[in-house]
């Protein structure tokens, strides 16, 4: 049983097609990252799953119930993007209020609220009015309120937005802990480095369409490219390398750094041996790693940077909405 499942999910806001048939599955205990440019439809997808927004077509299920089921929401935590807490509450009273809505008992609230706020590092100010909080403090409170009732699934829409580097690291650790405890986390983020560090699976949305989906390992799969450099003043034997069957090219004009590709079944070893035999000294050899950022960039390459610039002529790759 999947915790989250969408099939051919579509959503249109008037003339804007926010989602154009998205199908994805999230299994229990995963940290699932949803990436995409601004306006790609990430928030829309979460809102549909939570019943905040109605889907136009297709199917969306959360915890084995149709999206938007009221009772199921008791098992779900949600940190919205751009949230605004009522300023008349303190962190404590707000958590108490939400706890009551979630049906957390009074005893549990009394014990869990300070503990959860401690977890996100704002317990010291929990009795001050929220209107006196800094942006990052509000964000931490947002995370805390999504965890209070020990939900099975936690939706975090850009959770580290506005949080300082130390806080980000703490939040990452927190997510890891939650995952270990069996919670499922659905994460929207623009911080690819972060996503790469903690997510099990990742999906990339591009203007309402799912363009990539898979584990981090699958997406950043080794492409078999090496970067190689010799001691200064030594020339790289380009022709010999090509003769061995390696595609090579210089990475800089002075030809001190070279990129060497591997063709099927090849390893880098014959080349290294050849260099040593020729008496050349190897100074630099790294296997080029593809980062999630590289993957993301290659996916969205040529596509519009965001919704605001859809009219741009040069970027009319997949056809425009209008």
């Amino acid at each position: 049983m999947s915790v989250i499942e969408t099939r051919e999910l579509r959503k249109t806001y008037g003339r804007i097609q926010a989602l154009k048939g998205v199908s994805l599955r999230v299994e229990k205990g995963q940290i699932y990252g949803l990436l995409g440019q601004n306006g790609a439809g990430k928030t829309t997808l979460i809102k549909i799953l939570l019943g905040i927004t109605q889907l136009t077509d297709g199917d969306a299920r959360l915890l084995d119930a149709p999206a938007g089921n009221t009772a199921v929401r008791a098992r779900v935590g949600y940190l919205p993007e751009d949230h605004q807490f009522p300023g008349y509450h303190s962190a404590y009273s707000l958590m108490d209020f939400y706890g009551q809505l979630y049906g957390v008992s009074r005893g549990d609230r009394r014990q869990k609220i300070p503990a959860t706020l401690e977890l996100v590092g704002i317990a010291g100010r929990m009795h001050s009015k929220i209107k006196t909080y800094s942006k990052g403090m509000k964000q931490r409170l947002g995370i805390a309120q999504a965890l209070l009732h020990d939900p099975d699934v936690i939706f975090l829409d850009e959770p580290t937005d506005g949080v300082d580097p130390v806080g980000r690291k703490e939040i990452r650790a927190l997510m890891a802990t939650l995952k270990d405890r069996g919670h499922t986390i659905f994460l929207n983020s623009h911080l690819l480095g972060e996503v790469e560090l903690i997510c099990d699976r990742v999906a990339i949305l591009q203007r309402g369409e799912l363009v990539r989906e898979g584990t981090i390992a699958e997406l950043t799969a080794q492409k078999g490219v090496f970067e190689l450099g010799l001691a200064p003043s030594q020339a790289f034997p380009e022709h010999e390398a090509k003769a061995l069957g390696y595609p090579v090219r210089a990475l800089n004009p002075t030809a001190t750094l070279w990129e060497v590709g591997l063709t099927d079944g090849q390893t880098i070893d014959p080349l290294v041996r050849m260099l040593v035999e020729k008496g050349l000294s190897l100074r630099h050899l790294v296997e080029k790693k593809v980062t999630l950022e590289d993957v993301f960039m290659s996916v969205v390459e040529g596509a519009e940077p965001g919704t605001d610039r859809r009219e741009r002529k040069a970027t009319a790759v997949g056809g425009s909405d209008r």
């Binding site: 009221t70 009772a71 949600y78 751009d82 009522p86 300023g87 809505l101 049906g103």
Partner: protein, 472 residues
């Protein structure tokens, strides 16, 4: 239930966050203080009984059941030998009547007892039907028949015949006086006629009253601001209390309170559904309809508490200072809350549609004004039709007025009900007639509340429907 209470508590927190509530509570504390600064000192029994007896020349025909009053010349009522007796007083009431006149053959008129006297005539008038009556509306304009509005009905004194006057029995005289003590003094009395040594047209009665000096009609010396300002030396207690409760608190205070409440609560729903806030709430395991309805009830409960504190405080101040513990004034608490419920449903509906507190506020105040006008228009139309003065007024105007009145909340009717209840709780029956409230019918409670409740339901239904369909 937990969710309901949680939202209720959240509404309170929101309400006490702003300064408006403190302005409101400040005003209410000030009002309580001012009322508490009043002092009511009963006039001494001898003088007070004299005052009350002097009002006996005002007769309410049909044994006190008529809505009209008649100003007779029923002779002079005098109270003497007033002594304390138990919880009330004992006194001797002397009526000095004047014999009816008879014209002699030479064209002169002379008193003739066989034709009766002014006291017997008064009793006969009291027993008999009221004469042709005339309504005087609040502007002082007289008309033949009331249109159901606030009118003083004055009936022309009838002239009972000699037979009718002779037929008046001692028991009827006693009944008349018992009734007068109730009508004019608001007190119960037992009356026994004394005939020894008294000859008609003079009558004497032994009277025992109950209720001491705290009864509605008892003249009081009234001062305000802790004795600094004298309001009256001999105003009937009930009349003063009515002035405070109905004219000042119900008339002006309630209006101000409603306006402040509208301003304060207009922010609740737009704030709740503001972008960034609404997602937080509707992602919780609670439906949108309960969410909105609870929020609505939250606003109402809040106003209920504020009016309980204010009205209760004023009532307590009045009761403590005057010794008059009639609880009718407290009816203002549910009525104010209900009136606010009507207005707040509009505020919630407009708030959901526009998300703007300012628009919600203005629309609500506009409706308040509109209902008020509609109530007046209805009265006007009714009185026109009653008087057959329709004339050139176009028929459609009546139709529009009637239709609006049928479907709109009975804002004015609520006010009428409160005014009448307060008057019935403070004024003597005669005073109720004198201030024109007796001519006003109690509007049908079922209709008033039924139509208003239906209106509230419609407003909330539109709001919920819109809120449910919204992609936040």
């Amino acid at each position: 239930m937990t969710q309901f209470l949680a939202i209720l508590r959240d509404s309170f927190r929101e309400a006490v966050d702003g300064f408006v509530i403190y302005a409101m509570l400040g005003l209410s504390a000030l009002t309580i203080l001012i009322v508490g600064s009043m002092s009511f000192t009963p006039v001494a029994p001898q003088e007070a009984m004299g005052k009350i007896a002097s009002r006996f020349s005002i007769i309410v025909p049909e044994r006190g059941r008529s809505r009209s009053v008649s100003f007779g010349t029923s002779g002079e009522f005098k109270a003497s030998d007033v002594t304390t007796a138990g919880s009330g007083y004992k006194l001797r009431l002397t009526v000095t009547g004047h014999a009816e006149k008879k014209s002699t053959d030479d064209g002169k008129t002379v008193p003739d007892l066989t034709n009766g006297d002014s006291f017997r005539s008064a009793v006969a008038q009291w027993i008999g039907k009221s004469g042709q009556s005339m309504s005087i509306d609040p502007s002082g304009k007289a008309s033949k028949k009331g249109g159901g509005g606030k009118n003083v009905e004055v009936s022309m004194p009838t002239q009972p015949t000699a037979e009718e006057q002779r037929a008046v029995t001692t028991a009827q005289m006693e009944e008349f006086l018992v009734n007068q003590f109730a009508m004019q003094g608001g007190m119960t009395a037992t009356v026994k006629r004394i005939t020894d040594g008294v000859a008609e047209p003079t009558y004497a009665f032994d009277v025992t009253t109950a209720g001491g000096s705290g009864v509605r009609g008892w003249p009081h010396k009234v001062e305000i601001f802790f004795g600094a300002v004298n309001i009256s030396d001999e105003a009937p207690l009930g009349m003063v209390l009515w002035g405070i409760e109905d004219q000042i608190i119900n008339g002006m205070g309630a209006g101000v309170a409603l306006l402040i409440s509208i301003i304060m609560t207009a922010f609740f729903v737009p704030n709740m559904i503001r972008k960034g806030s609404v997602d937080l709430l509707i992602s919780k395991p609670i439906g949108r309809t309960p969410l909105l309805v609870y929020k609505y009830i939250g606003g109402l409960t809040f106003i209920f508490l504020v009016s309980t504190v204010t009205v209760g405080g004023i009532w307590l101040a009045i009761a403590l200072r005057s010794g008059f513990w009639d609880p009718t004034f407290l009816v203002l608490i549910p009525v104010l809350t209900f009136t606010f419920a009507i207005l707040y449903s509009i505020s919630v509906m407009v708030g959901v549609l526009t998300r703007s507190p300012i628009v919600a506020m203005l629309a609500t105040m506009g409706s308040m004004f509109f209902f008020w006008i509609a109530g007046f228009a209805k009265r006007w139309a009714d009185s026109k039709r009653n008087d057959n003065e329709v004339g050139s007024t176009p028929e459609w105007l009546f139709m529009v007025i009637d239709t609006i009145n049928t479907i709109m909340p009975r804002y004015k009717d609520l006010d009428t009900i409160t005014s009448k209840l307060i008057a019935d709780g403070t004024l003597t029956p005669a005073e109720t007639r004198m201030v024109g409230l007796a001519s006003l019918e109690y509007p049908s409670g079922i209709e008033t509340f039924g139509v208003s409740l239906a209106f509230i339901a419609v407003m909330l239904a539109i709001a919920c429907w819109k809120f449910k369909r919204r992609d936040s």
